[in-house]
Amino acid sequence: MKFITVILLLVSVYAKAQINWISFEELPQLMRNEPKKVFIFLETDWCKYCKMMKLTTFEDTAVINQLNKDYYCLRFNAESKKEVTFLGKIYAYNTSGEYAGKHQLAVFLGKANNQLQFPTSVFLDTQFQLHLRLSIYLSPKDFLEII
């Protein structure tokens, strides 16, 4: 009996809410049907504060509920090598020149003051207008204040 309770507890822990991450390809149709605010998280594999946000902020129940309610959430690895179509344009991995080794989409979304830093959180409003962009670790508390 105890064993079953433990299992149930474990299952309930693992079945906990998660951010509903969507892809860039899905976004246009969703925006056509029901415009919402957009949150884009730019990360790299080697960025530690990106992991820290995944561990704390994006596992915070209040943040998850608020994001899933009001936002379409996307995350993007800035060093991904796959082409991505976003708002009718094709973005590819930069092999040369400006920001070699970074994806053009990450440069497009995240570059500010001639710099691209990680993590970068980009908040767009329901009309795809840039609302806020922050290249800093955002704790659950900071994040809730923004959204």
């Binding site: 400006e98 767009l124 009309q127 795809f128 290249s135």
Partner: protein, 756 residues
Amino acid sequence: MKYLLFAVVFIPFISYSQNTVKGKITDGSSPIEFASVNLEGTKYYATTNQKGNFEITQIPDGEYKLTVSMLGYETVSKRIKLSGGETYYYTSKLIESSYTLGEMVVSGTMKPISKLQSPIPVEVYKLAHFEKNPTPSLFEAVQNVNGIRPQLNCAICNTGDIHINGMEGPYTMVLIDGMPIVSGLSTVYGLSGIPNSMVERIEVVKGPASSLYGSEAVGGLINVITKSPENVALFDANIMTTSWLEHNLDIASKYKLGKKVSAMIGVNYYNYLNPIDNNGDGFTDATLQHKISVFNKWNVKRKENRAFNIAARYLYEDRWGGQMNWTPEYRGGDSIYGESIYTNRYELFGNYQLPSKEKFMLSFSANSHEQNSYYGTTPYFALQQIAFGQLTWQKELGNHDLLTGISNRFTFYDDNTPATQVSNAEGTTNKPDAANLMGAFVQDEIDLTEKLTSLLGVRYDYHEKHGNIFSPRISFKYAPNFKNTFRLSSGTGFRVVNIFTEDHAALTGARDVVIKGEIKPETSYNINLNYQKIIKIKSTMLTLDATAFYTYFTNKIIADYETNPNQIIYDNLNGYAISNGFTFNSDFTFSIPLSINAGITLMDVYSVENNLKIQQLLTEQISGTWAISYEFSKMGLNVDYTGNYYGKMKLPLVSDLDPRAQYSKPFSIQNIKLSKKLGSKWEIYGGVKNLLNMVPPANSIANANDPFDKNVQTDAEGNVMATPQNPYALTFDPSYVYTSFQGIRAFAGIKFSFNK
């Protein structure tokens, strides 16, 4: 009731002023969807549909500013006047803006260490990690990495190599931007002379890396990733000096050549010309040197973002160490002992993506390394030239990411030692080494499931002397979630040993070099198991990383100092050698600007010959590193406390009577640094290196008072005899060295960064 009244009052007004704005937004050829059309300062707006059309209705009479904005395009606006229920048509072509969303940004402290997601464990160190204890070159900076030790090979000339998990320099490969600085002669030069301000990060692979990098680097590889020209400041300068008067200057800048070429240039100058002998052995405690290095990198912009990068580097170094009253006129003579080395090194490397739809990449590098040196009376003049070319083809097929390629490496080597001479009946003639090493490899990264990735690779090399060499590699990564990652990698290594370019001890001191028989290549088998765990403790993230490593050598060329104290014997191993151990790293990430990381490495490196276990000399069994940093954000003040610890090492003695200890004492080097930002352009910093004033014993150099062994007497068999002048039967030998003689010292510096 209220609403009714409201309606009655306003309905006539609204009905009288229903204007409409409609139109189409395009980029000139195709419609733009999701563009936002606003009447500024009002609530009237619309978003374009898939055809680029929009319509705003029920607009009261008046003057408005109509604004059309869209991510990635220039915003356009127009003043319009609406009256009398008109329909205003507006069409606009938007112009693409440069890649940016605007300038709104708040920057934070970026964490300096992490690990890439590849199946091969790659540790990534951001520049900030090395700036915690500023050093004139990356060679010294890597002492801050757990499991890596810059080893000084000579107490006098301070030449060094980099040990990864107990594996010596030649097993390590140094790359700049992933382009191999293929070099036998002093790989360490790959890590000196790149101004820190041009470095973005350093990637470290411990153990066998990708098949791409050949089969020699079983110890691991260090990849220096430089910034792209757009990411460096317009002008960057960093000048530092220490209480020993070691001056270091770094300058970096960027420029453009026409519209297509962006470039950056960096200059590093290091100067230390102040002989100090604190331990009173009559010899300089640190090697005097001045070194200049110029690094230039060009990025050529091509169609479809195809890669074309070229980098060139020049390094000149003049270093000497020896008796305090040595001057260049004593070079090579036998009155005052000195070791003097002039180094001239050129490098050119780059990559070029072929203009085809498939991803073909051509990488090339060429370098020339010339060393003109005297170790006491022993001259060593060497020239090594290497040309390397590699063509790779990358192809994604479903869940396979294939990489295949061919390479060729041509090595020319000439020196004044018997290594490049042939002797026959007619006498001795010089015969430089010139050899091609051709290779081909194929590698497949397979995403077996979302959580399991494997990397399979095999490399084939054809060596002119040693024939066919196959070296397979296999790695797995299993990550059930981002908090847990397991990695397993295994491979074989193959290496042809060149004693003189690799082992500095062969040249210095009084020991005779004895090479027994034909030196055979070294073959090794390696396996690494790594586990990374991310744990959340309240709002703190703890990253734990544990690696177990094991390398088995079927043959290893080990310098034998112990059989005969007057000789260094190089011979094939009649047995096997093992290097194994365990590395553990921990890293705390707080939501406050505090960071702590600490690591420990335990290892056992030995060879077994005739059932006898022989510990590798100058190799610690336990070592640790740590760094603690705190930022007082409001004051712009940073405090960094770094340190390392090394357990005892077995050291080479020169006689049975040698009074020096067979093992070094455990020691720790600890440093503290304070830095303060002054505005956005300036930063000042200062601190203390080697806080505990840890120095090796003063008698570390054997027979220091008689460096030319003039008073050394030998018996009929050539063994050194104990005499009243030489009671311990010593011969001059500087190879008993395990850390620098430099004790506690202060440093201070200024950084300036200007971006228009």
